[in-house]
């Protein structure tokens, strides 16, 4: 029937209805929005659990146990202990798996932060403060960028240096320039965030233009 399978038609009508329910929040909180919100919370929690089971619990625990591999008992017991958090009286039991997660998470941060987020970033900011271009006179653009990179990072770090009051020549002006550099960086991030938020709305309008409306025309308008 004009290229749309029935479950696609039903699906698109439901999607259209739910999209309008969520948009109704703009008119103020109302039953349609509350309905859509609660469906969303229920469906997303269900989705995460199903994908978590098939993706991780089954291969990490269920299958090794079927193959009589006792090591899988450890994550199983730690996992079940996590469920004790539901009842306040036995919630102390859930601390054991929680501590394993938090301890390992802390270990991961120590191991994988130093190199990629500090050393390589500082190395990339080390730039010569004067650059010649091919014809051996000053390449102004790169020199200025290098100055911004080196002294921008330096003053930015001074702004985040807390054990000395931000007064006086070095720390006073340093922190002052530092906050200005941060403000320009945050300004750029503001511009990009506006771009992101608007494209979310464009995405929903594209849904109506490219998926929902053609289906309605195909089925109701007789094509």
């Amino acid at each position: 029937m004009d290229g749309y399978a029935t479950e696609q038609i039903v699906g698109l009508w439901i999607s259209g209805f739910l999209t309008l329910c969520v948009f109704s929040f703009l008119m103020g909180d109302n039953p349609f929005y509350k309905f859509a919100e609660h469906v969303y919370v229920g469906v997303s929690a269900g989705y995460w659990m199903c994908v978590g089971y098939w993706g991780t619990i089954r291969p990490e625990i269920v299958e090794p146990l079927k193959a009589h591999n006792p090591v899988a008992l450890v994550p199983l017991t730690l996992g079940i202990m996590l469920l004790f958090q539901l009842n306040p009286k036995t919630s102390w039991v859930s601390r054991w798996p929680l501590c394993f997660l938090v301890g390992m998470y802390a270990g991961l941060q120590i191991v994988f932060t130093m190199d990629s987020m500090i050393i390589e970033q500082v190395a990339a900011s080390i730039r010569p403060l004067l650059v010649w271009d091919a014809a051996h006179n000053i390449d102004w653009a790169t020199t200025i960028v290098n100055w911004i990179l080196v002294f921008g990072l330096l003053t930015g770090m001074i702004y985040f240096y807390f054990s000395v009051p931000h007064t006086g020549v070095v720390f006073g002006t340093g922190a002052r320039i530092g906050i200005w550099v941060l403000m320009i960086a945050l300004g750029a991030s503001f511009g990009y965030t506006v771009m992101a938020r608007i494209s979310l709305l464009i995405g929903r309008m594209l849904f109506f233009r490219d998926e929902f409306w053609p289906m309605v025309q195909a089925t109701l308008g007789g094509g």
Partner: protein
């Protein structure tokens, strides 16, 4: 009059934004888009891949950011399949697995002759955030024993000989947040030395620019704008280019709102001075 305009009702502003997005979508102006350097670098990284290369694509975004990231992933997959290279999908984001299904559905339409298991495969989602790239680098087959159809890697033609992460020519992550690009940068790229291309939302682009500047990331594609540039570079007819006009008008509207509001505040300030 001044005060009434200053605290305009929210709903009127919502209406203005809605109109500024809908009108350009209904009649596109066809403005030219200039690809930027970091997007051209990502395109080139894919282009330089050898014939029949194997790429690991990590789909780390959810439905809320699919509008920005799906066009990028689709254009890249189109580029790979056109050069009959192979792509294995994985996901650090739970919703990534279902969105990979959607990508595969589109690829089936575009390339009916390409087969699941020979040209593309879905290894699915693994919980555990950073622990996934950590284990994947130590023992790839241990982290992904089967694909989402429970077929062991040894029975999948394109992955039969693959046991280590190093056997992939390139890793690409299309990431909306945590877990995603930062985990791949810190572990997959920095730790295991894999070449990495990052596609991300416009919100996170400024945060990842330093990693492109330091060379830890081979290419960076940012937001719907980056997706539109990538579509132009690969010549893929996607959704992103169409959205850019609406993006332009909406940006001008919001910039106008900020200016108007500051002018109004200034006028109110002047009037208070006179009293």
């Amino acid at each position: 009059m001044l005060d009434k305009l200053a605290n305009l009702d929210r709903r009127i502003i919502y209406l203005i934004v809605l109109i500024s997005v809908i009108v350009p979508l209904l009649n596109p102006m066809g403005l030219k888009i200039e690809p930027s350097e970091s997007v051209a670098a990502s395109f080139q990284t894919y282009e330089d891949l050898p014939e029949g290369a194997l790429v690991l694509m990590s789909i780390d975004y959810g439905p809320s950011t699919a509008v920005e990231l799906e066009p990028m992933a689709l254009a890249a997959c189109d580029q790979l399949l056109r050069h009959n290279q192979k792509v294995a999908f994985m996901a650090l984001y739970p919703e990534g697995q279902a969105l990979t299904n959607r990508l595969i559905g589109r690829l089936k339409e575009l390339y009916p002759d390409k087969k699941y298991g020979i040209d593309y495969v879905n290894l699915g989602y693994k919980a555990g955030n950073e622990a996934v790239p950590l284990k994947m680098g130590l023992d790839f087959r241990g982290q992904f024993p089967t694909d989402t159809r429970d077929k062991p890697l040894s029975e999948i033609p394109m992955l039969r000989s693959v046991t280590q992460l190093k056997q992939f020519a390139l890793v690409a992550t299309y990431s909306a947040g945590f877990p995603g690009a930062l985990e791949h940068i810190r572990i997959t790229a920095s730790e295991y030395g894999m070449p990495l291309v990052v596609g991300t939302t416009a919100v996170q682009t400024p945060q990842y620019f330093p990693y492109y500047d330091s060379g830890q990331v081979k290419g960076l594609i940012g937001g719907l704008r980056g997706a539109a540039e990538y579509e132009i570079l690969t010549g893929f007819k996607g959704a992103a280019v169409g959205g850019m006009e609406a993006q332009s008008i909406a940006h001008f509207t919001i910039a106008g709102l900020i200016i108007l509001s500051n002018i109004l505040t200034f006028l109110q300030f002047l009037r208070k001075e006179e009293q």
